[in-house]
Every structure is written in C-alpha cells, then in structure tokens.
C-alpha cells in the first residue's frame, strides 16, 4: 500500500516536471546565406552574428554584413534596412538604404578584412565605435592582423565589387 502511494507520488512529480519542462532546446534556424550560400553564422552567448536584411515585411538572414550589402545591391530595388550585429549583444547597428543612399549612425566603423569564408563573421562586422573595432581586432589578432577600420561607403564599395565578381563567375 505504502509502496503504491510512493509510486504515485513519483509519477505525479514526473508528470509535473514533464509538463513544465522546456521543449527541445531551441536551436536557431540555420539556413544558407542567400549571397554566399554558406551556413548563416549563429548568435552565441557572447556575440551576435546573424545579420538581417529587412525589405518591406521580409526579414532575410545573411552570414555577414558584406553579404547583406552585396545582395541588397544585387537583388533588391528600393528602400531597405540591414541589422548588422555590433559588439553589443542585442544591439545591432541599423544600416539603411533610402532612395539609393546608404547611411548608418555617425560613429559606426566596419571591418572588411579578407579572411577565410568560414570566419567571415569575424572579418566583416560593424562596430558602434572605433574603440570596439580595436578590441575586436586585438581579440582576433591572428586572423585580423593589419586590419584597418573602414567606412560604410568603403564596405559598400567592396560589396559592389563582390557582386561584379559573382556575375562574372556565372
């Protein structure tokens, strides 16, 4: 009798635990980048990596800010926004293209350092300040040795030349 009661208590506790247990660990969508077709780099607890391009009601993810700008130049007409992860978790830099003119908050700097594609979220990023850029380069000095900060206009130019290369390949 006592054993049965203990068993019931255990079953009840298990049921409660199961009912409140979270669903399978929520891993992010891991699609292919529409520009480079590599996996979209996922956010980590320390750093955001997913770049989102907002076009009307669409929200398309890219592997790095350079891919997003390049695809914006290649595939989208009209106004759009790119949310480029910055050094601050949850606070992306908002880059806009309105009537063909690109803009970003005044102190924004970018890194546009050619790097193996598997690490491109390190080589192509936005930063809210020059100081943040310096910290990032220092942290990844093996891969980003000699990297210089670039402006929005410069990264747009790099992206445009990538589109030209992409078309040549096809």
């Amino acid at each position: 009798m006592k054993n049965r009661l203990v068993g019931k208590i255990w079953l009840g506790a298990l049921a409660i635990l199961l009912a409140f247990a979270p669903a399978r660990s929520g891993r992010a969508h891991e699609a292919k980048c529409p520009h480079c077709e590599a996996d979209v780099a996922q956010d980590t607890p320390e750093q955001d990596n997913e770049v989102a391009l907002k076009y009307g009601k669409k929200r398309i993810e890219y592997r790095c800010v350079m891919c997003a700008i390049a695809d914006a130049e290649k595939s989208y007409k009209g106004d759009l926004k790119i949310l480029a992860p910055s050094e601050k978790k949850g606070k992306p830099v908002e880059i806009s293209r309105i009537e063909g003119k690109w803009s970003a908050p005044e102190s924004t700097v970018f890194i546009g350092h050619k790097i193996k594609h598997r690490y491109c979220e390190r080589g192509y990023r936005a930063f809210t300040t020059m100081a943040a850029f310096t910290v990032h380069v220092e942290k990844n000095k093996a891969q980003l040795k000699g990297a210089k900060p670039i402006t929005l206009a410069e990264i747009v130019q790099i992206a445009k030349s990538d589109v030209v290369e992409d078309k040549k390949e096809k």
Partner: protein
C-alpha cells in the same frame, strides 16, 4: 585430366588472356570518363551490368503501337489554364529533339544548336501537343519500345493534369478518376513504370551516370527545368479552384521561364515530393512512377552521352534501364520492401513521404536540398514538429518559394517562413474544410494578397508544441466559433481578419521547438565542400 597437362593448359590460357588484354589496352586506350567527377578514366565495358536474360517479349517491340487517352469529360481541360497548357505542349519536344540529334551524329552541337532550338520552342510554345514520334523518327525506329514506355506515362501525366484542372468534376470525382486513370495506366498495357519508391543512389549510380549533365549542362538544365514544372504543377492544381490555379500559375510560370529552365547547378533532378509534397503524399504511387520515369530519361541520356559505350551495348543498356524502371521488374514487391539495401529492390521511402524513394546521400529522415542544406521530410520546415500524416496530411499548409515547396505545421509557420525567404511566395493554407483551402501570394516585399479575403485566423501564439492548435485558418465566422467552442482554452480569442493576420511582421525569433536537422557533414554533392571540411579538420 593429368595434372601436368592441366598445368600447361592453365598456363597457356592465362598467357593468352594476358597478351590479348595487353594488345587491347595498347590499341584501344580508354576514353576519358564523362561521368563521375574526379575520375579521369572511363569505367571499362566490364563494369556495365548485363541485360537480364528473361526479358518479356514486348521489350523487342519496335513497331508502331500508338496508345491513347482513357475516355473522359475532363480530357484537355488543362487548356482552362492556357499558359500552363502551352508550356506543357512545348515540353514535349525537348527530349525528342535531343534524342534525335544524339542518334543522328549531331551530339556535338547539343549544348549550342540543339539548346537554342529547344529553348526557342519553350519560349514560343505550340498551341497543340506535338507528337514526339514525329520529332524523333530515327530515335523512334531504333528505340521503339522506349518511346512506348515514355508515351504511356506521358499520357498518365497529361490525363491526371486534365482531371485536376477540370471544372466539371467535384473533388471526390477527381479523386476517383485519378485512381481510375492509375488502374487504366497500370493494367491496360505492359509499359507501366514502377509505382514503388526506388533508391535514387542506385539509379544514379550506374557506370554511365551523370555523363549527360556533365557534358551538356545547358540542355540538361532545360530538361530538369521542365521536369520541375511537371512536378510543381500538381500541388498548384490539387484541390484548387480554377481562379486559384490561374493565380498560382502567374507566379509559378514566371519563375519557370525566368529561372528554373536555365539552372545548371542543381545537384539532382527535381523530385515530385520536393515540388508537390501534397500530391506525393496523397498519390505516392503516381509520384513514384513519375520520378522513376524522369530518372529513366536521365539514364537514357547518360547512356547515349557515354562515348565509351559502343552502339550495340548502348541498346542493351537502354533496355536494361527500361527494365530497372518498369513495373514488371518489381512485381510482387511493396513500398518499404528491401531485398537489397541500396540496390534495385530497395523500396524504402523517406520518413513522412511515401512518394519519394531514398534520396542520394540521404538518411531516412533528412535529405540534402539545394540552398537549404539538410531538410527533414516528415517534420515542419519551420518549427521541426512532426507533420500530420495519412488521413490528416491535408491539414499541413505548404510554402512554395525559390523553386521548392515545403510543408509546415500551421499558418503562422507558413507566414514566418515566407517572410524569411527571398522572393515571391505561394501559400496553400487549409481551413477546417478540406475543400476550401486559401491561396495567399506574397510579393517580393512580403505583402500578402489572397483569393479569399473573408478567411479568418486564430493566432494565440504559445509554444510551437501545439502550434497546429493555436494557429488555424477558418473559412467562416461560424467555423471559427465552432472551433473555439470545442477548444475552451481559446474561448477569449478574437478572430483575425486576413488584413490583420497579414500585417503581423516576422519577429526573427526562432520557434522554441526548432532543432537543426542533422545529416552527414557538408554538402554531399559537392566534393569541393568535402575537401574544405577535410582542410578544416586538419587545421583544427
């Protein structure tokens, strides 16, 4: 036999064989292999599997034996959607032109002159269906039985499409007629293609496989482009009104002409379940027969494009290819049977998709999809929760974009998936009534329009574990209220109008239930990718 005599006989035979092989090797160097990338040498004639000895008599049929449609009031109703009907007429000439050129010594111009001719027809489609036998008379004389097999399945193709496009039949009548057409196809003459799921790695793993696509990528692109159309049109037509069908073909037809016909980077031919998962789930035997037919086309192309195979052997290999794909070769076998894993009699199918044989490089529940990576076949492509199956399968919405059609679990999954996908999107959203699905089209910017502005939605977002319950579409207010009454947890829910539902913007948050589908590492179709993975491992 005396042991010494036996020794000398064996020695002489061995020497004779060795010298003859040497002489042959010196006089007939093996040509370069057009097939498997990375292999420079032709595989050698001894790698070609033999023709089965006891082929039925009809395999030798070279005479004219025209077969035609089953009678029906729906015949040629595809002309209700004129643009699609004309596009299908044009498709009829593609393979025929290429076959004729390949058997009349014009193969060298296949990716140039032949491509231009086929492409011209595809862009200037005839008003009536051409007779393929008139386009490829030499080929027909040589491979008559093959033409019969092709024709017979093309008739099934045409008639099932006519039924689905008919405005004279109810949904129940259409369903009955499709089954009657299948019976007519399968039982009237012996030329039926197998309705069983086949192992695609086996079919595409023959010594000659991939020769055609590697040698003539542009023409192969056209073939796979219109095979894409022949697949994609089924979900477009299934359970839809004529205005819905026309509305969808405005989007699908544009994509077909602008993109799908000219893709040369597909890793594999388009499969029915990738382009019409609802039809493939409902009529798996037809979807399998069409996939097997398309694979037979590919095998024949590969044989004809393999210069290392002499003419008489090509004829044998084509007969063998017909045998492999024929229903006759698989009599008594059933879906799921595995006499030999990875071989001719491996009839397993992908999990959740009875209308698709095991794909190349796939595991049972994930397959590699171009630009998507490893995708589950039985789970929602947005939230990874299992999709409804069997009798309930019609309840899964679908999202068509970028050349694929994927099943999802609820309208919210469909809307979010569409918003996260580039380009125009077609939604199929079932309501409580299987006969009243809603079609929604998204433009390039994600603005949604529908054929049924009166549709109402329930959307009480919570964990995706139950998204099929808290996200639903209803054809009327009454249907919404009935649902809420029988599901008291939603008693306070307000129905959303189409405008309200369509105005919700995607948050970018991942569904709590999402699990990345795991498959073998990297893109299995891309050797370069594997090399890169190896390099990475070494680096680490």
């Amino acid at each position: 036999m005396h042991s010494l005599t036996r020794f000398w006989v064996t020695l002489l035979m061995a020497l004779g064989w060795a010298f003859s092989s040497l002489a042959q090797a010196q006089t007939e160097p093996l040509p370069k292999r057009e097939g498997i990338p990375g292999r420079e040498e032709a595989p050698g004639l001894n790698t070609l599997p033999p023709l089965p000895e006891d082929l039925p008599g009809w395999f030798n049929n070279k005479g004219k034996n025209h077969i035609f449609y089953k009678r029906g009031p729906y015949n040629f109703d595809i002309y209700n959607i004129k643009r699609l009907a004309y596009d299908l007429n044009a498709v009829a000439v593609g393979h025929s032109m290429a076959y004729e050129d390949m058997v009349t010594g014009k193969a060298a111009g296949l990716d140039t002159e032949t491509f231009e001719r086929i492409n011209w027809v595809l862009n200037h489609p005839p008003k009536f269906m051409p007779d393929e036998a008139n386009v490829s008379p030499t080929f027909g004389r040589k491979y008559g039985v093959l033409e019969l097999v092709f024709d017979w399945t093309h008739i099934l193709h045409a008639q099932t499409v006519d039924v689905l496009a008919s405005t004279k039949l109810s949904e129940a009548e259409k369903d009955r007629e499709i089954q009657a057409l299948w019976k007519f196809y399968f039982e009237s003459v012996p030329y039926a293609i197998s309705p069983l799921p086949m192992n695609m790695a086996f079919l595409d793993g023959q010594p000659y496989s991939m020769a055609f696509r590697n040698k003539y990528p542009k023409v192969n692109g056209l073939f796979w482009g219109y095979h894409w159309l022949q697949g994609a049109m089924y979900d477009m037509l299934l359970s839809k009104t004529l205005p819905q069908q026309r509305m969808i073909y405005d989007v699908l037809g544009d994509r077909y002409h602008a993109i799908e016909l000219y893709r040369t980077n597909r890793p594999f031919m388009p499969m029915f379940a990738e382009t019409s998962p609802r039809f493939s789930e409902k009529y798996p035997y037809i979807a399998n027969a069409f996939d097997n037919l398309h694979m037979l086309h590919d095998m024949v192309n590969d044989i004809l494009a393999s210069d290392w195979i002499p003419e008489p052997e090509k004829e044998k290999q084509i007969l063998r290819a017909i045998w492999i794909a024929s229903a006759t070769a698989h009599q008594g076998e059933r879906p799921g049977d595995v006499k030999e894993e990875g071989g001719l009699h491996d009839h397993r199918h992908m999990v959740g998709m009875p209308g698709m044989g095991m794909m190349k490089y796939a595991t049972e529940d994930v397959m590699w999809m171009d630009n998507m990576g490893w995708m589950p076949t039985g789970d929602c492509h947005h939230c990874t929760m299992p999709l409804p199956e069997g009798e309930e399968a019609w309840k899964a919405p679908t999202v068509s974009a970028q050349g694929w059609t994927m099943r999802v679990r609820c309208p919210l999954c469909a809307r979010d998936m569409a918003a996260e996908t580039k380009g125009a999107v077609i939604f199929h959203i079932p309501t409580e009534d299987p006969l009243k699905p809603v079609v929604i089209i998204s433009d390039e910017q994600g603005n949604l329009t529908t054929d049924n502005p009166g549709v109402l939605f329930l959307e009480e977002a919570a964990s995706h574990r139950k998204c099929n319950r808290w996200s639903s579409a209803f054809s009327s207010r009454k249907a919404f209220e009935e649902y809420v009454a029988t599901n008291p947890e939603f008693k306070d829910a307000k129905p959303l109008s189409f405008e309200e539902w369509a105005a919700v913007e995607v948050s970018g948050k991942k569904p709590d239930t999402y699990v990345k589908p795991e498959g073998p590492e990297g893109n299995p179709y891309d050797k370069a990718q594997d090399d890169e993975t190896q390099a990475q491992k070494e680096e680490e």
